[in-house]
């Protein structure tokens, strides 16, 4: 009896981690981007590009790892466009981000038609068969691929990079004030490029993980606003990579619960249930916003997004 409970718990954790991995990656990317003082609404488009082109490459070359790489690059290329517009040409970041998002949606809808119904092999689970069949670890090892551990490790690495290295110090400084950073001899634009491109790479990877590892299919607009959710959840995670993991897991848990509820044939519209994680997300946002020090963690440079510079 206990063993079955453990297995059940394990499979919930595994499902949550699996479902949370794409969000974790894109949330981490957006966190790093906003830390250098740039808001990138284009992550939605970048994720879609990563999902579409990554899936295409994986299907054509029968190599999921290559697909992940191609997906990450697709995200990078779109973030490059955002950078040219808002770092080099000083276009308003909101406008530029929306433009990148629409571009990503449009291109993938067009290109992605040929990939509908294609098949990818997906990634191998961490362990094929586990000796002791009934334990907490069994579902974790058989249901998870190496993506989830990678995502977890990346958040930790990013946290250490941001808070314990000179590079991270420079990123945070630029995110607080480009003017002060320039006065201190840093090159703000270069630093912003670093943060933005890292974010682009991670959001592309997140999209590819979604299509290649998680759903193993391509569908038009399959990210369903996950990129934009990430932009909102950055606030909940207080621009802190170490908080990305718990925040993404909360959302993953909500997402999994909906699937379980559907599987249990709850007598509610599936559309309503599908909206539940977003309502949940909104709830967290309100709760965190009620805190007294809600603005204390926000990089001051982000306020400049709404000013003429």
């Amino acid at each position: 009896m206990d063993e079955i409970n453990y297995t059940l718990a394990g499979s919930w954790v595994a499902a949550s981690l699996r479902s949370a991995s794409p969000l974790m990656l894109v949330l981490l990317g957006e966190t790093l981007t906003q830390r250098v003082g740039i808001v990138n609404l284009g992550v939605e488009g970048q994720m879609l590009a990563g999902a579409c082109f990554g899936f295409g490459a994986a299907a054509v070359f029968h190599d999921p790892v290559l697909g992940l790489g191609v997906g990450a690059l697709a995200g990078l290329v779109l973030s490059l466009l955002h950078g040219v517009l808002c770092i080099q040409l000083r276009v308003n970041q909101i406008a530029s981000g929306l433009c990148v998002m629409m571009l990503g949606t449009g291109i993938t809808s067009y290109v992605g038609r040929v990939f509908v119904g294609a098949e990818v092999s997906g990634l191998a689970p961490l362990a094929g068969q586990f000796a002791s069949a009934q334990s907490f670890w069994q579902p974790l090892l058989t249901q998870l691929t190496w993506i989830a551990p990678l995502a977890v490790v990346l958040t930790l690495v990013a946290g250490v990079l941001l808070f314990r290295t000179r590079t991270g110090l420079h990123w945070r400084t630029v995110g607080e004030s480009s003017t002060v950073a320039a006065a201190l001899g840093l090159r703000p634009r270069l630093v912003q490029w670093q943060g933005l491109l890292t974010g682009g790479l991670l959001s592309g990877l997140a999209g590819a993980v979604l299509s290649i590892d998680y759903t193993q299919t391509w569908a038009q607009n399959m990210t369903k606003g996950l990129g934009l959710i990430a932009v909102g959840l950055v606030i909940v995670a207080r621009w802190n990579p170490f908080l990305v993991l718990p925040v993404a897991l909360l959302f993953g848990l909500a997402d999994t619960s909906v699937l379980r509820l559907q599987a249990a044939a709850v007598n509610t519209s599936s559309y309503l249930l599908a909206a539940a994680p977003y309502v949940f997300c909104l709830g967290i946002l309100v709760v965190t916003h009620l805190r007294a020090d809600r603005d204390a963690h926000m990089p001051a440079g982000l306020k400049a997004v709404f000013n003429d510079r």
Binding site: R164, T165, R166, L169, R172, T173, E176, V180, A183, L184
Partner: protein, 502 residues
């Protein structure tokens, strides 16, 4: 001076558009000097020192360091030459800790920033020496302005500066912090460093300088050893003509019937606390309020202005309770003039033009359509009358200098008859002439019978112009009485909470 100059500025010229910021300036800086660079706002002091620091490039002239002329000067090169400069705007990142801010200044800081690396230890040692009471893990935004300045100084010292340039360092400090800064300058001199102290306050000059250089309109107009020159000579050199800088003190009021009454006031709010405060002010009386910043001044000013509702107690002006009004609408009453501290953030909207800023007190009385010429004419008239420069009503308020901004606020607040004037640090950061203008306008209101509540940190001015002085400490009235019963030392002791009896 027998030794060769360590730093030498030769025939320096610098123009900004139409303005000659520096013309043909020659200045030699010798070892072991503390030079006070004295002058009014806009005299070209900061420009000259920013040229020396490499922040600007001179249009003509040469900068010579230890006999070597500099080519392609830059702040980076200054770092190598041991020139450090404390700017008026600090280059600190508020959201980062003190230690992180110090480490940022070092291009060669370790990439992996765990504690206990050599540089980190050096930097910490340097901070420890200047300010043992500042915890390096605190965030800079939680520090007071004075503490932030100390962090900047630690940064300069950690970079091993031999020439330390301080740009108006005392403008933002409390009296205690000023003392600490003087000690710092003395310490620098003892360590064999050279200090250039840019200021327009004579007190600074007397406290630390060995040599005084006065600038006016981009030129050096005087150069003395400190002990060989009188204050009057300095003022005359700074101002140029023999203008009387002392405003006449207006006669104390004859009727002692109170016009403003503050009874059992208690406030506990975000901006400060006030406990059991009682005082009265007669018409035509100037009540000067002294105290270390953050001892309830802000809360008192806001309650008197009717924009903060007290927890209990009453403020009565001319028989009308101000705080009863405040319960209905949070608004400064029409017969009260309120000149808050830091006018740029508290009194004007920087992005709006001067004409609109002049009308801000009567927003709900404005016509729906905004194309009337009368408002513009009125604005032009007020700007001219108060000598706001430039007097273009279409200019945005953010473009004005500190002195002119204060004139703009005064033009708005004091152009109509008022019963009460609340002036919070109205001359902070202003030069002598601008200060005199502010005082003239302020005291003219008292002559017409208004009560003046005047918060200030310029103790000498308080003693010179106020009729009565009230010292605040910890949100309470530490002492209140006629000006004759106070002197600098007594106020200083009262401000820090000591010596109630004497």
């Amino acid at each position: 001076m027998s030794a060769a100059p360590r730093f030498s500025l030769q025939n320096i010229n610098k123009r900004f558009g139409e303005v000659n910021a520096n013309s043909n300036v020659n200045l030699d800086i010798y070892p072991n000097e503390v030079i006070a660079l004295l002058g009014e706002n806009g005299a070209g002091k900061s420009t000259l020192m920013k040229l020396l620091y490499g922040f600007y490039t001179p249009d003509a002239g040469e900068i010579v360091v230890e006999g070597e002329p500099l080519v392609a000067h830059s702040p980076k090169q200054s770092l190598r030459l041991g020139i450090g400069m404390l700017f008026q705007q600090f280059n600190l990142v508020p959201a980062l800790s003190v230690l992180e801010n110090l480490l940022l200044a070092f291009p060669a800081a370790p990439w992996w920033q765990w504690r206990r690396r050599r540089l980190t230890t050096d930097v910490l040692a340097c901070l420890q020496r200047i300010a043992p009471d500042i915890d390096p893990q605190r965030l800079v935004r939680d520090l007071s302005v004075g503490e932030q300045q100390v962090v900047e100084l630690a940064k300069i010292m950690a970079l091993n500066a031999q020439l330390v340039i301080l740009d108006e360092p005392t403008a933002v400090l409390t009296p205690q912090e000023v003392e600490r800064l003087y000690q710092f300058v003395a310490q620098c001199r003892a360590d064999g460093k050279v200090v250039v102290f840019i200021t327009h306050k004579l007190a600074d000059v007397r406290a630390c300088a060995t040599r005084i250089v006065v600038m006016r309109q981009g030129r050096i107009v005087g150069d003395w050893r400190t002990e060989t020159v009188t204050d009057n000579e300095l003022i005359q050199a700074m101002v140029g003509k023999d203008t009387g800088l002392i405003v006449n003190r207006i006669a104390p009021p004859k009727h002692l019937l109170p016009k403003l009454m503050v009874k059992r006031l208690n406030v506990s709010s975000r901006v400060g606390t006030i406990t059991a405060m009682d005082f009265e002010v007669s018409p035509g009386e100037v009540l000067g309020i002294a105290g270390v910043m953050g001892n309830g001044q802000r809360a008192l000013a806001m309650v008197l202005a009717g924009i903060l509702v007290p927890d209990s107690g009453e403020v009565i002006l001319d028989g009308v309770s101000i705080n009863a009004l405040a319960h209905e609408t949070i608004k400064v009453p029409d017969n009260v003039a309120y000149i808050p501290e830091s006018p740029l953030t508290n009194a004007v909207v920087a992005q709006l033009d001067l004409a609109t800023n002049l009308q801000l007190r009567a927003l709900d009385a404005l016509p729906f359509l905004q194309w009337g010429m009368p408002a513009l004419h009125e604005a032009q008239h007020k700007l001219a009358a108060h000598d706001v420069r430039p007097s273009d009503p279409h200019l945005s308020a953010g473009a004005l200098s500190g002195g002119n901004l204060q004139k703009l606020v005064i033009a708005r607040e004091l152009s109509r008859p008022v019963q009460l004037v609340i002036a919070c640090y109205p001359t902070m950061g202003l030069d002598l002439i601008a200060t005199r203008n502010v005082y003239e306008r302020l005291f003219a209101q008292a002559e017409q019978g208004a009560c003046i509540i005047w918060f200030s940190e310029e103790l000498d001015d308080l003693l010179r112009y106020a009729h009565r002085i009230m010292v605040l400490h910890g949100g309470r009235v530490q002492s209140i009485g006629p000006v004759a019963s106070f002197d600098r030392q007594r106020i200083g002791r009262l401000m820090t909470g000591h010596a109630q009896a004497c």
